[in-house]
Subunit: 431 residues, 4 copies
């Protein structure tokens, strides 16, 4: 038997808190899980800095990747199998794409990509096609198989149905992370009836559609998403950690540009400073190493870098207020002046941060927003976009307001070494 | 109002998946959570290497410490309060001890303590009494308060009731970790009716006792413990990861003793090699840093160190068989010879590991075993040790069998560069 | 100690699947649960005919009543206690009102009240004030206590805060039934974070308000309600059972008016035929007795009564189609003629049924709809009606569409004894 | 296509709180669920009188029967299918047997069978083979199909594997009721990992066996059973309700034998008095009708019957003490004399009740006890009885102690109309 069809002698299972068990029969899937590039995902948290607010959210992307695979496996093996619209020949491809879709994520992706202008999607492609253990496994399936997997993940694969399983408004990716993030944070918002949704999914040439009878389960899923964004992904304290993290990296980059001499050589970051990053450089980074550097940097002489690093490691984050610098431009500039006057560099200590406004696809850090909408399959065989039928979805689609906040160090306001008149001015503008 | 009684203006909560919410009213508790020594527990996993088998088990000791605090808080505020046997004056003390009982744990405690002969309990004391943020907070309560907290944790505090809340056969520590470890691994074994158990707890001078009517809930708790030990804490693959980890550290220590020149200076480990460890040295270590070193060590020239490090980081663990070297001493010695012959140092590649035999207190890495037994409070006011009344507990008390295994690299058995007759000999002895 | 303050020697608990435990300390509450009028609620299902669609929904109003009591108890004992706006002197009153709020419900309330024009709220009052065990217990608290309890339930009690705990848009009644009905039906829609909601409730003179920080938890509760209405309470098959049941009672009433001689004397119904119902008559009815009569009536000579009774008992319900007789008046009249022609009395076999349109208070059988809206307590102390702040609530408030259906016996369409041209005509109009 | 293979056009589902969904594809199964004999199970509670102690336990045998069907369906469709030891030709047979195994249960079976000496297993056979809707459906499969179904349920069918799915120490019947009864009562004891157990089940000629790797999951199941028996099925207050119920029926039978004239003709019971019960008579009884009679009997002139009926309906049950009349024969006889002296007939008011002692098959009312033990399938293919391998199972097998209690009316002890010296004597003997 060829490798593409090779099965394990006996099914293997991973115990998973969200899906109870993740089942593996295919040799290729088993081998991919064992690669060093996939194991690396254990060292990258699914929710970046969120664990500093919801202490349970320490789960890794390894968790999530297995979960996405399992959802896709259930859909195609339990629901699509045997239906004429589903091509069983695409099975292994979509399972691999599901498993590997987040392979290129780096540590604290959002801040990292922001500062160093890297792109995790590009690195996913490089891992799939480069000199890696993952590529070695995929090539055993077929010479062009790595490229196909990359295309599915990049949404350029011609079979749109296959793409839509991984990437649409109701794909396996989202169904996993909503439930998983809810489970680990412990919030009650991530519940929806995934088993029901899977059972009403039907394969169509342009993508997965949902039988009309499942509309309310889908509404519930959309509402879960809405709540998870507002409560977890956009949590203001989590954004505070993100702001501090971002500024650490920004400061390191700035210091390097200025020729600052680091006590501890930031060797892992050198290629990123120079914009000459190899795949090996990229894979050598993970959150353990980042956290190790932060602890080194706590001891650097640069006051800003050591302060920000200490803040992150010991969780002394920034305070925040609602404040839109575009609306209150003069006030903001005055604040910048006042911060400078008390010795705080406003570039690092007076930070504007906003959430984005996206129509029923609430932005999630590291995820793009233009995904195939949800179509209902009516009893007469017609398709109908969800928000046309659902009162709830229609009513919330495109209505999220942008939230503008300013982050700053709280201690400033009670610092007795600063002139009280200055502090009064700051308070008046900020609070 | 003095600090010991200071309350937060408004209660604060932590969202917790196991207890739903952790509630904090006391200023001192809030301040302790904010210290750098307590925040450090975020960087130490509760279950060490278990996440390499149960991928959900990535939760930290920070999680667990808050959980133990919350359980004790509920017992004393909801059940003990107002009962004559309970001295409300001990409230803050026992809450602090609950929160801080694992403060001295280092990264991968079990293997680390085994190789470097450190003692996390000693470090807990040092953190409580030394020049730390924790100590600073505790001293604000009272000058002798840090010492008292240390005594409760060390079980030398005169009020045995206070000690028993943290440390007995049915203490808050165990009730939290059983449920928490079950939650994060996703297994179904850790369920027991904690709410019921808390409601039937009664304070007595010598310790917490359980009203007879709650016996079956306690049986269920004991059975949970039994199952968690067999299925999670003693899982053979988790022990394999532990064996590899242990040997990495052993190798590093050995290389240092031999004067090996490390490419990457193991500065964090130097004090441990020399047995001259300050509190600051100890606190500077966490699992991020350990994982960073393992990745450095993958590139060391020493073949054993780099191989073992790669095995741990990329999760290529050892295989195992049931084998008791004491019973089969000659076979074991023959295996050691054969391993040496094929070029594998048996000190690192042929490892005996066993579980221990403890009467209804199944050993857990990092926890001592001589704890106060469970007493039932009969309707006539008499106390009665649980195993005298419970058929189930009596029947399993002291009956766990020691399990002996040998761990070794699986690849050996299919290594085509080795003489087949040698491999056949090894297989005959091992399998 | 007087009876109003009398406590049980030891707290008693009821094991409850929804709230885990229902706790009782007050002697009066314990005594009320033991009365025959309260025990009678065990013989009346919470969801009437819904168990014929969701087989798990066999739970009684006894269940729910204890649940409402427990929620109120937790709010006032855990959240309100000690706050200046809360008058602890109202505690027992509100607990009793919570426990007894559904006391006057009869068997299959909705259909029964519809046909016999009784009013369960009136009977609640009569039970509280009449010659009953419940009244006897309440009078032991104070002479005017039964009247006060009645007023709270009827929303005429002067202390609006007390009333709002039992009866408002986010009262204990709703919070219990949503969760309870979800639990027993097994649907995933009834989840919301009640613990969070309770913790952000604050007592105000005009009623309970919700701290702004709890808005999202309240949104989730509103969405649960929306989903429960659409999926459970308005389920078309459950409405079919309701239609059949309604017509059984209508037929019995009609036959009695015509002087029909019943084989089995409908003694329990005689007072209802005559509109001279005593409290004793009313209390003598429960769902066991109704189901017993239905089985008697299966053997009556009247073809309509026996057929409908068999349909209900053996669950051969009516089929349905979307059809608004107001919009299609002529078609409906034609159908009535055709039904008559094939020998089916359209009064019993061609039934229009519709759901109602109510602004964010989706009608539930047996519950009134004009309840105090939800107010958010802003950080500046101002109150703000929920739908002004919540995008989701605003968008669904008042938007539920009325759903019109016609129910009829499916067998008609395949009855070979009927002329095919007639059936074709019916089909053309109906399907 | 013939009826045995006929499938529904589209799969139908029942929402089930325990298994989430019950899936039906087979036309025969769908038709069986719709029969009046199967629908009758909605009017018979799964746990008889237990709802008077655990108020959530109001679920019917209809619930449970669907659940057993679903478990068997999952085992054969998801695990056995395709394995050589499993004969797919037995599929429909075992599904029907699973669905119908409790078909002959009457209302409050245990007490009823005890007094009237009926046998629900005999009635199951009669329903399967008699002139019933169920028989009509089964005969459409094959002429001898009803007989085969009866044989599977009666454990006389030659294919022991088929029998063991329904009836063994780890059959679908038990796996359903343990989980279901735990769910509805709300206790935390009924949890075990059924998904895991199903996955390690293997078909063998003599019955289902369990792969050794699943031993701990099976242990957990055995422990659940143990706890459910001790906590739920043997609950002393539930037994009190059973005692009262038993005595009502005993009294009715006795009165009839004495020629007592009933105000309300007990027509449904007449055949049972005379021991001439037709299938129709039997099916005409359900718990609604029983509860209706109890309410009639509350008004009978016979003091014992009316008192006992009131006790049951209004839940004024008997008190109990531990007391073994065999060990304390003279005391018991003295009590009988004293009860007679105060005017209480000891046959109805001084009742001995005991639980039975059965080796790791704790007796459950209505279930026999001699079932095939659990065999583990070792890695070498050998079978091994569970208690030989499992410490826990071995230790509890056959060790349940018989529990003897005496039930009596509590009011007696505080009855001021009775001579205090008499009461003192009673108390001395009883308490």
């Amino acid at each position: 038997m060829n490798y593409a069809n090779a099965k394990l002698q006996e099914e293997k299972v991973f115990k998973d808190p969200v899906h109870r068990y993740v089942h593996v029969r295919d040799q290729a899937i088993w081998d991919l899980v064992g690669t060093r590039e996939f194991q690396r995902l254990r060292r990258i948290r699914q929710l970046g800095t969120t664990y500093l607010v919801f202490h349970g959210a320490e789960h890794s992307r390894f968790n999530h990747s297995l979960g996405v695979y399992e959802i896709v496996r259930r859909i195609i093996d339990d629901v699509f199998k045997g239906r004429p619209e589903w091509d069983e020949g695409e099975r292994l491809l979509v399972l691999c794409a599901a498993l590997l879709h987040d392979l290129g994520h780096g540590p604290f992706s959002h801040a990292f990509e922001n500062v160093f202008e890297t792109d995790h999607e590009q690195f996913t492609r490089e891992i799939l096609l480069g000199d890696t253990e993952v590529n070695e496994v995929l090539r055993r399936v077929a010479v062009d198989f790595p490229e196909k997997v990359a295309q599915v993940i990049e949404k350029t694969y011609p079979n749109e149905l296959v793409v839509s399983l991984i990437s649409s408004q109701i794909d396996a990716d989202r169904m996993d992370y909503l439930q998983r993030d809810a489970y680990y944070t412990g919030v009650s918002y991530g519940h929806f009836d995934m088993e029901r949704i899977m059972r009403v999914m039907r394969p169509r040439a342009n993508g997965v559609v949902i039988k009309e009878s499942g509309m309310h389960a889908v509404e519930d899923y959309i509402m879960s998403r809405y709540q998870m964004y507002l409560q977890i992904y956009f949590h203001p304290v989590s954004r505070s950690a993100e702001v501090v993290l971002n500024n650490i990296l920004k400061r390191v980059k700035q210091l390097r540009a200025e020729g600052y001499w680091f006590k501890y050589d930031p060797q892992h970051f050198l290629p990123f400073f120079e914009g000459m990053v190899t795949l090996e450089d990229y894979l050598a980074l993970d959150e353990s190493i980042m956290l190790t550097y932060f602890q080194f940097w706590m001891k650097e002489d640069d006051a800003i870098l050591s302060d920000l690093s200490r803040r992150f490691v010991n969780r002394k984050l920034f305070q925040y207020v609602n404040f839109d610098p575009h609306e209150r431009r003069e006030d903001f500039e005055e604040l910048q002046r006042l911060f400078t006057e008390v010795g705080l560099d406003p570039n690092y200590y007076l930070v504007h941060d906003s959430t984005s406004d996206l129509p029923y696809d609430f932005y999630k850090p590291g995820h793009e927003s233009t995904k195939r909408p949800i179509f209902l399959l009516m009893s007469d065989g017609q398709l109908c976009e969800l928000s046309e039928k659902s009162l709830i979805v229609e009513s919330i689609a495109g209505r999220i307001k942008v939230d503008h906040k300013i982050y700053f160090p709280e201690e400033l306001l009670s610092d007795s070494s600063i002139s009280q008149s200055l502090i009064t001015k700051v308070k008046k503008l900020l609070l």
